[in-house]
């Protein structure tokens, strides 16, 4: 081996080591935000992933909209996919909506004061959820597959992520329900990666983990 070839080989080795170091760093720091409207199952999905990873659930779930009103964070959640490991930091975000009305909460037995305070916290949570977009490495946009996906929230979130080149996967949740319609979501967003799951039962979560590995890692 001549001198120049030897130098080139050494430089290439150093570059490979540096590349590996940065890759490992990114792997350990990968932060995934869970975006979507209220009550689509963001916290249920985050809890399911935590449970699959042998961790405690990240937060409480409730039928009352806007149960998650501040960002919930869980670091270093690791899922085994065959021989590979998928490690991530989870940011479970407050649900995004274009209107928050305390009167909606009164139907669930809250007092007027409690409902108004919940509405105030929910609005603050929406701002936090939208502003955190610029901080995440990747996103899961969770949709309720029983609902019409053509909403201002869904279109705005997906458009903003596409414009910012944030890798994302659409998660069509609640496929355990009879009126689930995943095809409607696929027709609406044919160019985006979509995985259909049930966070409640755990159905097809392995497909989601593989999709994250393929599209985000």
């Amino acid at each position: 081996m001549d001198f120049i070839t030897e130098i080139k080989t050494k430089i290439q080795n150093i570059l490979n080591i540096l590349k590996g170091l940065f890759k490992t760093k990114n792997k350990n720091k990968l932060t995934i935000g869970f975006f979507g409207s209220p009550n689509v199952g963001k916290t249920s999905l985050a809890n399911r992933i935590c449970i699959d990873a042998g961790e405690d659930p990240i937060g409480n779930v409730s039928v009352i909209p806007h149960e998650t009103r501040e960002i919930l964070r869980k670091e270093g959640v690791t899922i085994n996919i065959g021989d590979a490991k998928l490690s991530m930091n989870i940011l479970d975000l407050p649900g995004v909506s274009i209107k928050v009305d305390y009167r909606e909460f009164l139907n669930y037995g809250l007092s007027i004061d409690e409902a108004q305070e919940r509405a105030r916290e929910a609005t603050k949570g929406i701002v936090e959820a939208l502003k955190v977009m610029e901080k995440v490495d990747a996103a899961l946009v969770i949709l309720d597959s029983t609902q019409d996906p053509r909403t201002q929230v869904n279109i705005t979130l997906l458009g903003a992520m596409e414009a910012r080149e944030i890798p994302f996967i659409i998660v069509a949740n609640k496929i355990d329900l009879e009126n689930s319609n995943v095809d409607r979501i696929k027709k609406m967003f044919p160019e985006y990666p979509i995985v259909a799951v049930s966070a409640l039962t755990g159905k097809d979560m392995d497909k989601l983990y593989n999709k994250i590995k393929e599209n985000i890692r």
Binding site: T31, I71, R73, L91, V96, S97, I98, K99, V100, D101, Y102, R103, I112, A115, Q116, A119, R120, T123, I126, V127, E128, L130, K131, V132, M133, K135, Q152, V153, I155, T156, L158, G159, A160, E162, A163, M188, F189, P190, E191
Partner: protein, 92 residues
């Protein structure tokens, strides 16, 4: 006028926005015809959160994403400006 956020093609106001752009993207945003910029202020409003009455809020999610400032208009037409908004995520 509508503008594709991926390739930048523009379409007239009467364009059926349920149809995708020629590039395949399905996300078209309404833009200001004169300036050619996204019409993020919606009808000229500067606020991105409107307090209709105590406990009822209207949120302009598009402008919250795109603008650094948060402008809140309360029920007495008083404006509050928060600059800049930094979410408490623990992420550096």
């Amino acid at each position: 006028m509508y503008k594709c956020i991926v390739c930048g093609r523009t379409y007239p106001n009467d364009y059926d926005i349920t149809k995708p752009c020629k590039c395949g993207s399905k996300i078209l945003v309404k833009i200001n015809d004169k300036k050619g910029e996204p019409d993020i202020s919606f009808d000229g409003r500067v606020e991105n959160i409107t307090v209709k009455t105590k406990g009822i809020f209207e949120i302009n999610i598009n402008s919250i994403i795109t603008e650094k400032t948060i402008v809140i208009k309360d029920e007495s037409n008083i404006y509050y400006v928060k600059v800049p908004w930094k979410p408490n995520t623990g992420i550096e």
